[in-house]
Assembly symmetry: C2
């Protein structure tokens, strides 16, 4: 079986499914984001367990929407578990209460923030001491180009320096990629992808681009009827026991 | 070390901590209930993994408040993981949207409900075929006696027949017990207890009552400052790695 022969959800189908979960499905965004972010943190713990030899600094790049919220939740669990030291870069905030609550929860855990793309560049470029892992929770399945400032400069910098910086874990889509079509000229160059609910079409391009790309599925919350309706029953069946994540091999 | 020599939170302190999490802590009830219920399901999975030889029917007794909500969330995860077949008894509902949402999520998973204490009695009394496990999510740390109908009859029945029915897993407190003082004459006779955030004083009485009592801690979400303020840092330190639960031994 090809590594990329998994079922996917297009940007449109993913948006529809999300809407369905929160309307007839009666889930709250708080619930879904908590479970999604927790699964991102679990995948990171499994793939990059904290090492005794370093600070395990995790730079969390937070976008303006739900993808960013998933990153905020993941950062909280990583910090709470101990061993990781997350630091945020969250330049474009909404006034939505949920997001400011998630930030308060992180401040209460003494998670710090970077102020500018310059700060990010400075931190990630310190060899062996700056950042051990980067979470890309900038854009999700509702992303549409073009990428606006300061995200364009940020992604361009990371793309151009990817062989000198820490591995990047992308949440749901590698930021800068087209959700359905895949790579564009702005590619964050992620090492690992955590697809939520179902891989988006660009995930197949991601794993096909190199044998070293790592791919997890998380966000285990849809019921069999929805899985059937969206033709992703195969994916739901991949999870074992009470696991919140599964690694594609 | 005595099995019961753990730090505890009195009913009053637990209520205060909860209030603090949801005010200055900026957590929503949806978030906390999702994490608490998930940890209850994880503890059940660890202690009573689904068996191939039976239906793994789990009767979930749901009370009118937050403890009941934790049970509803736990039931959803158990059903979603496959292997378990939860069935609800939820006689006293509030109009709160969160609870009706949690029930909708269960209905969408084809989880059924019992209508009366008589139905419960009938189902639990079928030898080897009725119910394999019972979740007692009737009352939590805000419980104050007396127990009203139909819960009085329900708990009395379970107490009087405990040697003939499936093991009972209590969420946070064994229902009928006084949160601080422990057993009363109405004792649901739980086999396992999942303490949330911190054991309540009655948990010490629970484990001291028999060497066979099983005790887990779940609800891993408080930050070190709150843990220090409420003098329960020892408990927070018990969790290993990314585990959402820990078993007291």
């Amino acid at each position: 079986m090809l590594r990329s022969s998994f079922k996917t959800l297009s940007a449109k189908a993913a948006a529809q499914l999300d809407q369905e979960l929160m309307s007839t499905g009666a889930f709250s965004i708080d619930q879904l984001m908590e479970l999604a972010g927790l699964s991102v943190a679990q995948a990171i713990y499994k793939q990059y367990p904290p090492k005794k030899s370093c600070n395990n600094t995790v730079l969390v790049l937070v976008g303006p929407g739900n993808n960013g919220g998933d990153g905020l939740v993941a950062a909280r669990h990583l910090k709470l578990w101990g061993g990781y030291d997350p630091i945020l870069y969250y330049p474009k905030r909404t006034k939505n209460q949920l997001y400011s609550n998630l930030v308060t929860q992180l401040h209460d855990l003494d998670v710090n923030e970077l102020e500018s793309v310059e700060d990010v560049k400075r931190l990630v470029s310190v060899p062996q001491a700056g950042v051990d892992l980067i979470i890309d929770s900038l854009f999700g399945f509702s992303f549409k180009p073009p990428i606006r400032a300061p995200f364009d400069e940020l992604i361009r910098y990371l793309a151009e320096n990817h062989d000198k910086i820490a591995p990047i874990v992308s949440v749901d889509i590698p930021s800068g990629w087209d959700v359905d079509k895949g790579p564009t000229d702005l590619d964050i160059n992620a090492t690992m992808l955590v697809s939520l609910t179902a891989p988006k079409p660009c995930a197949a391009r991601f794993v096909d681009s190199s044998a070293e790309k790592i791919h997890y599925l998380g966000g285990r919350f849809i019921n069999p009827k929805i899985a059937k309706k969206y033709d992703i029953e195969e994916l739901v069946d991949l999870y074992e026991g009470n696991e919140l994540i599964v690694k594609f091999v």
